[in-house]
Amino acid sequence: MKNTAVELVGITKAFGENTVLRGIDLELHAGQVTVLMGANGAGKSTLVKVLCGVHPANAGTIKLYGEAFSPLTPSEAIRSGVVTVHQSINDGVIPDLDVASNLMLDHLAKPGSGFFLNKKKNYAEARKIAAAMALDVDVRQLVSELDLADRQLVAIARAMAHKPKLLILDEPTSSLSATEAKRLFVLLDRLRDSGVAILYISHRMSDIRRISDRIVSMRDGKISGVFEESPLDYEGAVRAMLGHSMTDANIQIQEPGTPIMQMKDIVLQEGATAFSLDLHANEVVAITGLVGSGKSGLANVLFGLSKPHSGEMTLKGAPYNPRSQGQAISAGVFLCPKDRATNAVVQDFDITKNITLPFLARHSLFSFLNFGSEHVTAQNTIADLGIICQSDTDEIGSLSGGNQQKVMVGRWLVEESDLLVLDEPFQGVDIKARRDIGEKIRKTATARATAVMVSEMDEALEIADRIIVMNDQTIVGDHRNENIDLRLVLTQVVGQLNNATGNDEHAN
């Protein structure tokens, strides 16, 4: 029955010292939609990039219908029949050209396709492709005039023009509404029936339930679970993805102190359910949930990056409505943002300058910097967090990812805060650095409230006194990290969608 389209054996990939893929063995079958799940940093994107020719693998083999496949460039991958539609819709289409040109673009770019455009022929060909894909759009229309779903369909139709053997879709519904997504699924059903192997990457449980024939979970650079028996075990897949090896996280759960941040009837987005949340001193709260569950939205609201749709916040009893990051900081609320490369690291600065960035005023007199005081602060942070470096004047870029993250976290620990929010502090960080950071956060947490947004269950269990689960822009679970019922937590992470089916009784 199974017709293996792609076979990966022992694929590994490292960037410097950071091993991202640790021996991936995977088969993808023709006429099947395989959903790939994995938390941030699990290695999904790298795996896709190896498949579509962006990065070569360090070791391992890939076979495409039995033939060795090791593309060196994306265009080579496409020619061999592995076509990828990326997450950002506009990467797949050229908005300022009409639909026909978009559909025919790859033909036009081919050498020997003639110098002059033959518009009529182009339109006719494009209509043929559109019809084959049941794409109901006027091929003369500009892509920029189409709605998002149609654009995505055009991008996929473009991909299909290459007659792919494997079609990779990277979070194709991330910017589509539910009805828009439905149209996409209809198309995917047709493609599946035509015998294409589809690798579908998504976090949305509703998508996964609708489209998947098979789920592959990834965690920490490895395949952590393959689920292909009907009915599919969605919760098992999520558990495999979030993981829980119950590492020897040996933490003393603390009693909560006085409430510091009180959020009342907060609605994050229009239409979302209201929630209330108190964050106490001497308590580290891990906030977990899938991508899009509202974790980052909550962090942004706390730090004044966005306003809640409605609701009230008080900080130590006083109303708290920061209008800028500067205001939040001076009120005593610090945020260590996620995605450190874009949001935190100042590449041109050395370690010291990166550490002292937010609180330069404390290191200056009449605006003149006191380099000695900066140096002392940097030395202390380096020692406290065990940052591995030659000296505090090393370029930040010369540090490993974990050590860079320590610098970014350390930046916010040098001053006392009332509320410290850390958004995904363990992203792209090795286990040792993760332990160091977690330990340091817990050690300093006595006088303040601490909220840590995390995506893996281990991380939450390792760092938190209390674990809060978010789903669909609201809080759905609140647990003390003592004798915690992990099944319940996971159920809450996955959400009611899973409960609605009621067929997830066979946990492994």
Binding site: E17, V345, F368, Q390, G401
Partner: protein, 346 residues
Amino acid sequence: MNMQTDNLKTTRPKRTATEIAIRYGFLALMVGLVIFFSVTTEGFASPYSAVFIFQSVAITGILALGVTATLVVDGFDLSIGSTATSALMLSAYVLVVLEMNAFVAVAACLVMGALVGLINGILIVKFRVPDLLATLGMMFLLIGLQRIPTQGRSIATGMTLPDGRVAEGTFSKAFLALGRHRFDFFIDNLIPVSVIVLLVVGLLVWVFMELTRHGRLMYAIGSNSRAASLAGTNVNRYKVLAYMISGVLASVGGILLAARLGRGDIASGNNLLLDSVAAALIGFAVLGAAKPNAFGTIIGALFIGILLQGLTMMNAPYYTQDFVKGAVLVVALVFTFALSKRGGAH
């Protein structure tokens, strides 16, 4: 997932020959040039010659320091040249047509420069016009604006105004002194005011950028404005400040130009713009900084000045000068981007 940052080495490499070349290569090249011209060209090696070089680059140097301020916040100011020539016209207008004194003329120019910078800044941070486009617009606007009050004529004492009146004001002694007075320094009447202004402005910009927290935050904005913003920096305010520094320095350059020329010449200032941008970019290569910096900018300006002085003394025709400027710039950019680790790492 931060592959690009994760794959960098943890260990710090020893200072290699290449690194030494990057760090001191440009300064060595400059010393070499000075020696070369001193040997080959009679009269090059003299204190007067040195002062000439400084004076010839004083105005572009001051403008280049303004460009540097905007480059630090990852911006760019195309309007400095025309801001300078507008200040030139404005000071002449105040002195000759309105018949006011030197103090008013200088103050008016500085206010105008600050205002131009403020408008540039607001266009860029509030109206989100890309910096090149906003300052390009400002450049054209100023080139036109400076011609409107005199209907495109240059301003000089005795000129007939559009309304038929004859302008009676003069460039006052005090104002002209800005361009012509020379301070004694071992030799009588050696160092012109403009050179002193260049050195003082250079020192101020250097101190501001390297030693104060405001300068530090501006560099942070230039490297990663999002990170700076999330660390609580008011990014917009510092960007506007950078353009205001640029505008004020450009008008300082314009004032010195007016004092030297002794009249209000209409000019687009495009050459001033190009020369000062070149100086600021050459500055990237000095001491292997790979970033805009005040010291490098002044060295960059001097480098061009030395070359042009030497070539002119050797009777090289004018068109070789642009060629040489271009060559120096290209070499400096190669130093910055190809050889330097930091330039290349991005």
